[in-house]
Amino acid sequence: MPHLTLSHFLVVSALLFGFGVLAVVTRRNAVAVLMGIELILNAANLNLVAFGRYVAGGISGQVFGLFVIVLAAAEAAVGLAIILAIYQMVRNIDTSQATTLKE
């Protein structure tokens, strides 16, 4: 079995990025597209940590990775908040329709 090198990690991240883009361009469901974005961010993050380990040395890649994880979480939170807002509107419309039917 071959020795583990930088390129192994980079190929995994390249494929991960490819799947992320595939999810983003083909899925129609907004939540699925958000998941595709998470794949892209993970691919970039894997690159950063791998480069930090094999190219830069030190912890700069890991620090970058930590920030990306935090920002990805914030982005997902905003995305969910908007989905929640849409959900509330749809539900409100549904319930109001239900009451008009009862009268």
Binding site: F17, G20, V24, A30, V33, L34, G36, I37, I40, L41, A43, A44, N45, N47, L48, A50, F51, V55, A56, G57, S60, G61, V63, F64, F67, V68, L71, A74, E75, V78, G79, A81, I82, I83, A85, I86, M89, V90, N92
Partner: protein, 514 residues
């Protein structure tokens, strides 16, 4: 100096940003403390927001002008950044003034809006000053994330919410792709610091084998194109413009006005800093032309510019909603400004700066006119402008001034802005690829003619069509004052543009690579 001492020393060049941060927190606090039913709520919060911007501006004015790196090479302080900071603060102050008297922010939500607006401004400050890949990514997200929230701000409006969802998704994809590109740059040079970038990239190319050379070229191309995705999204250039019309239509108009000038200008500031000072070989804008990875990047930017302005203008032709029309118009203006980047020269950078400054005033003015019209009629289509000249001459005349200025007709400031872009591009006509630069200028001239058509549609509706019904149009007093001031400024700087030239000339020094 130790790292901590360096951080503490940097703080004295960081006061405007600190003032903004304090302002953000103060507004969050005030938003909770001032009672929801209070009559003075909006007034108190508006004054607080303006005070924060004012304090930041005062601190910026008293900041020593010298180029230096701060916080261990995270951000720069230089005249170039200071120019953009003034522009951002101006946009923020005007947006606060517009939002205060708008109907689109119910008073329970306006405090948070101001706080989010200031955090976007802080993000734009960082975009214009970033010297580090991490800082750059963080700054872009700092502009994007609060913007997503504000875009979906209208309570109970499903289309606005879906537009903001689209905004989040496109924005997330663009910034993710950009991050991937940044990670390759980091991998190639082994450092996140932009000042070390150019030198290391050059030393990288020399010893590599033939296969390595090709790999390096492809890696650099991928990295630059991916980074362009992120920046193109921020300035809404084709093909990253799809979010623009929907978000502009759905989001609160005062914020749209800000969005169309602020983040766009910040995107250009970032593009200039990254592509001209660090990725350019040999430093300076001219180095950009010599080609990273043997790709003629100015040509790439030139094609982007031509496509962006043409698609923006052609799509604007058949729009009836004023906000959508202005959205496409703002896309085409990003295309015009890209001409300055394609010129790849000091003059090009200066012309982008002038254009963004003028564009700030005329586009804010146009959106302000749309807000005033929508407040009277309740909707924002071209038909709502019918007979406006008879209902409210001031509004009609100032709106016409903004539209003519957006077209680029003399004697308005929009003409000066466009003139310098053309000069920057045409100054290359005798050099390499001169024919292409002339072609770009011709395309831009044709586009100006196309844009005249749809701007004149609005003007025709205002001055020729008969008003439908007896509708009273009475814009708020503060809006009337702003409309008057904006158009006066456009007229004034349309004939006396020396101050613009001198200011941008003095702001052209920026921290280059170390």
């Amino acid at each position: 100096m130790t790292i901590t001492q360096f951080n503490i020393a940097s703080a004295s060049w960081f006061r405007p940003e600190l003032a903004l941060t304090a302002g953000i927190l103060l507004l969050f606090l005030l938003d909770v403390l001032v009672r929801k039913q209070s009559r003075y709520r909006v007034a108190v919060l508006t004054v607080a927001a303006l005070a924060c911007v004012g304090v930041a501006a005062a601190l910026l004015a008293f900041q020593p002008v010298e180029s230096r790196a701060m916080f261990n090479g995270m951000i720069a302080s230089d005249p170039f950044a200071t120019f953009w900071k003034w522009l951002f603060l101006g946009a923020a102050a005007l947006t606060v003034l517009i939002a205060a008297r708008s109907d689109e922010f119910p008073s329970p939500r306006i405090g948070v809006f101001y706080a989010l607006l200031l955090s976007v401004v802080l993000g734009m400050f960082l975009m214009a000053t970033s010297l580090d890949l991490l800082m750059l990514y963080l700054a872009i997200e700092m502009v994007s994330l609060p913007s997503y929230a504000i875009a979906g701000y209208k309570p109970g409006d499903r289309r606005a919410a879906e537009a903001s969802l689209k905004y989040v998704i496109y924005g997330g994809v663009a910034s993710g792709i950009m991050l991937f590109g940044l990670s390759y740059i980091y991998g190639l040079v082994g450092s996140t610091n932009l000042t070390a970038l150019g030198v290391r990239l050059e030393s990288l190319a020399a010893p590599a084998s033939a296969g390595g050379q090709l790999g390096l070229r492809v890696a650099l191309m991928v990295a630059v194109i991916f980074v362009l995705c992120g920046i193109g999204y921020k300035i809404a250039a084709v093909p990253w413009h799809m979010w623009c019309p929907d978000v502009y239509e759905g989001a609160p108009t005062p914020f749209v006005a800000f969005l169309s000038v602020g983040p766009k200008a910040a995107g250009f500031a970032l593009a200039v800093r990254v592509f001209y000072s660090f990725l350019a070989s040999g430093g300076g804008p001219e180095g950009f032309a010599r080609g990273l990875a043997d790709v003629p990047w100015p040509a790439v930017v030139g094609v982007l510019s031509a496509v962006t302005m043409t698609l923006g203008n052609l799509s604007a032709l058949h729009q009836n909603n004023l906000k959508r029309l202005l959205a496409y118009s703002s896309i085409s203006h990003a295309g015009y400004a890209l001409m300055g980047l394609a010129a790849a020269s000091q003059l090009g950078v200066q012309s982008v700066m002038i254009y963004m400054l003028v564009y700030l005033v005329m586009n804010l003015g146009a959106f302000l006119a749309v807000i005033a019209i929508a407040q009277a009629t309740g909707s924002e289509t071209i038909a709502d402008c019918n007979g406006l000249s008879r209902r409210h001459p001031l509004l009609a005349v100032t709106f016409a001034v903004f539209l003519f200025s957006l077209t680029g007709l003399p004697p308005l400031a929009g003409f000066v802005g466009k003139w310098y872009l053309f000069v920057a591009v045409l100054s290359h006509y005798a050099g390499d690829g001169g024919a292409w630069y002339v072609t770009l200028a011709v395309i831009a001239a044709l586009n100006t003619a196309i844009s005249l058509y749809y701007y004149v549609r609005i003007i025709r509706a205002m001055f020729i069509e008969a008003p439908a019904g007896e509708l009273v149009v009475r814009p708020r007093v503060s809006y009337q004052i702003m409309l008057g001031t904006f158009s006066a400024a456009l007229l004034l700087f349309g004939v006396w543009w020396n101050p613009l030239i001198e200011w941008t000339q003095a702001s052209l020094t920026f921290l280059t690579r170390g």
